[in-house]
Assembly symmetry: C2
């Protein structure tokens, strides 16, 4: 992924993961896979795990350890009410930014 996208993901990636979790509980490995499906091909696993640690520490998700048949136990993350609130805040900020940029794009020719 380009350096540009790397910088643009800062702050946004957390919102993306929260949005994915809003669709249903998931564990880290699964989330990285879903991100790849979503087109974020080159997001490093380490990045996702670090992000999950952060949102867990901020109390945005509930965590449950679930045994797996295919490897080490999974840490399943579920968005809780606080997480939903954080997601709402994210969409609000994103909406503002997207709106401003849409303006700028038409205003500024191409």
């Amino acid at each position: 992924m380009g350096k540009q996208m790397t910088e643009m993901l800062k702050g946004t990636l957390e919102g993306i993961v929260l949005a994915l979790l809003a669709l249903g509980p998931a564990y880290g490995y699964e989330i990285t896979a879903r991100l790849r499906d979503q087109g974020f091909a080159d997001i490093a696993e380490g990045t996702v795990y670090a992000l999950l640690v952060r949102i867990e520490q901020r109390g945005l998700v509930d965590v449950e350890k679930v045994p797996s048949e295919k490897g080490p136990p999974r840490k399943v993350f579920t968005l809780n009410p606080q997480g939903r609130e954080a997601l709402d805040d994210f969409w609000s900020s994103w909406g503002f930014l997207a709106d401003r940029l849409a303006h700028l794009k038409t205003e500024g020719g191409q």
Copy 2:
């Protein structure tokens, strides 16, 4: 501005400034003022000047010192061809991200 917006601006603010410069040459103080008009009320002046230094060092803008009647000389920045290319790249990355998020937003209920 919230911490959330601060993080989200990373990488994006540069694109915003490039887009503003695409509308015509401008100097730092003027750009911060335009940003405020655009709704980015709390962007620190220091942030804008640091950003301008960066894009100058990367050769995205041409710089000219112009005397001012109201204070120290202005550094007027003009987007050059390389800058326009960077702006195109930005819009491309932004387009991808905005598209993905629009998907996620509808997909994910609210």
